[in-house]
Symmetry: none
Subunit: 540 residues, 2 copies
């Protein structure tokens, strides 16, 4: 069986989705997760198109990618100039990627209506651009934009773009259903013809497929192409993308690997699929789709007694795959066993190795379920999770305790706003009572807390809030529902994320801040009591 | 071309979805909408299974259905008794429907593991049940539960259940992928064999298909069956259903009608598809999926200037169907790349028609860019955008002005937290000074503001915050950076979204709340000054 290549475009096509706006840090974090997952190609963005994409490529070196190639994306050269003269293409070279994906029009209508140029010039734009990148020593993927619509209207021209790209040196030619309107049987028929054409013309490029979900068949369309021998599959995590989204890798990967027998990821990587899906939705600040195939919270949820007992006797009766194979778990109200493998995996990440039968594992699971039922979700909050684990193990160190807080926010006649906070914090024997101002109540709280701690733990001066995200857990009752706050901290060397949940946004934020400062102290190797005692002795 | 029959199971299978709980009234309202849409079969529920389903069938006469048959659903008779002796089946007859769908096992594993009976007895249960209903003068549809899994393990037995049902008098035999694990090519191959089998055995039943979305291919699986000549298609509105849901009729119908040439609905009915989808999600109290194919808010959304001007010149360039054919519409998204074409289109949505050369258009663009550079993003905040436009045109009405606010949040020794807010609001000549508590400072603010306004604008009592999202705009400086708040409001009939940006989360939230209440008042057609004046005169 031929090797299939996954090509992720979450950072480029995915970030076109309405409601998604990724910072450079977000993009780097997602790239790193995709690398862990084992995706061979990651489309990173369009160098030169905006400062964010430039910064992303400039900072790529910070990541130590082991499995993935990050690919730069761009259009073919502009009409009526040479590739060399097009400064946009220079910018792409400067991103210094080994692979470049360039896209061009395969639909005559678009050549006329969007590019407003001739059919010949469009072919020349494709050939010149690919030659230009090849001569600079780069490997090239060519995206045939609007290929299927183009093929239906003018098959000869659509095929001419494939031939032009392949002959100019593109190693992959990707057939794109840009408008997302195709159905699987249409994809299948067209791909079959393209395969024949490539054989006839002795083109050596591999074929790829890029589908959108406007007919709710993006995943099936990609599979139909694979059934016809296509070997590169484009998609995004959670199917994020413009309009109705792109083909969803979180469904495609298990369909291909578990049902069609392709080896794409190691079984350990595949078991990270659910966590990766949730991580990306957290970073994008979108509620995860609970009904998502394979990775959704409800994907393996069982209701009803007969159902549940049948599934317990023989899971095959009501489950199409083993949930753990994609890192999900069966969800039956009373099942405490669900999720044990995830936890074991997670603990191993902290350097804690347990037997599956260790009673402490059960304790952690019970505590975790309890918190999850209160709206906590630890996929994107590793620091809070580690604190929870250490607490269950009796290993959590008490650096300080927050005994009370007061925050206020007030407007003044000159239209200014002022926020301040006071906190009462116990460190060892000493009660600190401090106040601080901030841009808002949360930053005032953070300042007041750090002011209270800095005498004891000078490290807190280096910690700061790097990101702050809020989501309401039940969208039907608005601000009266539970508020979940995720806070990312940084000390300049390391980043960590904590979570707080409460009906009150201030309380939720406070919990996440307290966890964040505590985790920062713990991971800097500080021992609390001695230091506290020493400081206290010193001060008195 | 043979006629296809749509079969909706939103009220039965759809209501199994986690998070959905429909009252009898809800079910009746949905049935009535499905009738308007022109769905031939509506599966109403299982008479005798619960009081809600009984009440639904008892009250069916209240509806004057013109296009739909409401079908009762039930399992085959119990093992080891006659059909007549099974009181459950009597209950089903009492629902008095012309059509009854009964389901039985087609997978030998389930016969053994779930029913715990013999393969022969299961066939007898199928035959007896169908005979029983036929003798009572009812028309019968038979659902082959787990047909595809069953066929893969024991094809002879799975086919025997089809033959038994057809020979007992079922007019339709529906092949169900109950666990949702099949892929389109597998469905296609199995259905082909079943068709051959039916021909060989001279079975006269029609074949149906019932798919689930556990592989994210439910729609494509149903289409694959149709490609093989299946004539009845089961699905639910919005794909609601257990686990990952059922095949989504809102995608299936336009795929079949607009792309495969089947005549299912009149064009007027098809143009009600988007409204029906939104209606069902409102009744189910679930946020509509904005990225849904055909009916989602984003399904025909366009960003970016070149894109927008191309779609205006020729919509076919970027749209796979005419949005209005399914009752949706093109939506020009306002984003950083906004050019004049986007704005013009957007203004037209508000009923404001401008020439491209109108100087007011320039003013709006300038103001928009200014706000965007301050972190505003209007793509998800249509209501704030409309207010901005009306302000630029000098058409914004002043319903009230917030002159001051104070919020506080405090913890108490018993670990409780309390938030309260006071606001000073001017309405016309009158200064209202109110205070309220809330779960957090934002909900306290919202309550205090609405308390201040309710004497003047009783409509505010119906408005509530439906969702609240916060994002820090510059991820590197945390809570000291800009905070962007998006708030979704609802008045039970309509939803609208506003935005607020400020370094202070309370100020940002306040701006979004003020916009939201103002927009709610404006869109309810209220005139501010007169009403204010009248109230003020009345009160003094």
């Amino acid at each position: 069986m031929n090797r299939l290549y996954l090509y992720d475009t979450t950072l480029r096509d995915g970030s076109q989705a309405e409601g998604i706006s990724l910072s450079v840090d977000d993009k780097l974090r997602i790239a790193s997760k995709l690398d862990d997952l084992g995706i061979p190609f990651i489309e990173g963005g369009w160098p030169g198109a905006n400062p964010k994409d430039d910064a992303f490529f400039a900072r790529l070196g910070e990541l130590q990618l082991r499995h993935s190639e990050v690919v730069a994306f761009c259009s073919t050269r502009r009409s009526g100039m040479s590739a060399k003269a097009d400064l946009g293409l220079q910018k792409v070279l400067e991103a210094n990627t080994r692979w470049i994906t360039t896209f061009g029009k395969s639909w005559d209508l678009h050549v006329h209506e969007s590019l407003r140029t001739s059919l010949e010039e469009n072919l020349a734009m494709i050939a010149d651009t690919i030659h230009f990148f090849r001569e600079a020593g780069r490997r090239v993927i060519f995206d045939c934009e609007h290929f299927f619509d183009g093929y239906h209207k003018n098959p000869e021209y659509a095929l001419a773009t494939v031939q032009t790209a392949a002959e100019a040196g593109a190693e992959w030619v990707v057939l794109c259903d840009t408008n997302g309107g195709m159905l699987p049987h249409q994809i299948q028929a067209v791909v079959e013809t393209v395969q024949k054409f490539c054989k006839e013309k002795a083109l050596t490029c591999g074929l790829g497929i890029h589908t959108h979900n406007d007919s709710e068949t993006a995943v099936a369309n990609a599979l139909a192409a694979v059934m016809q021998g296509v070997l590169m599959i484009h998609g995004t995590v959670n199917g994020y993308g413009e309009r109705c989204g792109n083909a969803n890798l979180c469904a495609l990967i298990p369909n291909l690997q578990l049902k069609m027998g392709f080896e794409l990821l190691s079984s350990e990587q595949l078991a990270n699929l659910t966590a990766t899906s949730h991580f990306v939705s957290e970073v994008a600040n979108l509620a995860p789709n609970e009904h998502a195939a394979y990775v959704g919270l409800s994907a393996f949820a069982h209701k009803g007694g007969i159902h549940v007992s049948a599934v317990r006797r023989n899971p095959q009766t009501y489950e199409h795959i083993v949930p753990e194979s994609v890192g999900n778990s069966r969800r039956i109200v009373i099942s405490e066993q669900a999720g044990a493998s995830n936890i074991l995996q997670k603990l191993a990440d902290f350097g804690l190795y347990f037997e599956r039968t260790d009673p402490r594992l059960q304790e952690i699971l019970v505590r975790l379920k309890q918190l999850e039922s209160q709206g906590y979700q630890f996929e994107a909050a590793d620091a809070s999770f580690e604190l929870l684990v250490r607490e269950s193990l009796g290993e959590r160190k008490l650096y300080f305790s927050l005994e009370g807080l007061y925050t206020s926010c007030q407007t003044f006649p000159d239209q200014s706003v002022r926020s301040e906070a006071t906190v009462r914090v116990r460190v060892g024997d000493k009660l600190q009572h401090t106040a601080a101002e901030g841009n808002g109540p949360v930053s005032a709280l953070d300042s007041a807390l750090r002011k209270a701690l800095t005498d004891f733990y000078p490290q807190v001066a280096h910690m700061h809030l790097a990101d702050y995200k809020v989501r309401i857990l039940d969208g039907t009752t608005g601000t009266s529902a539970l508020t979940r706050v995720l806070i990312e901290f940084s000390n300049g060397l390391k980043r960590w994320t904590t979570i707080g949940v409460s009906p009150n946004i201030i309380e939720a934020s406070t919990r996440a801040i307290v966890d964040g400062l505590e985790y920062g102290l713990m991971s800097s190797g500080m021992h609390p009591t001695e230091k506290c005692l020493r400081e206290i002795l010193h001060q008195n």
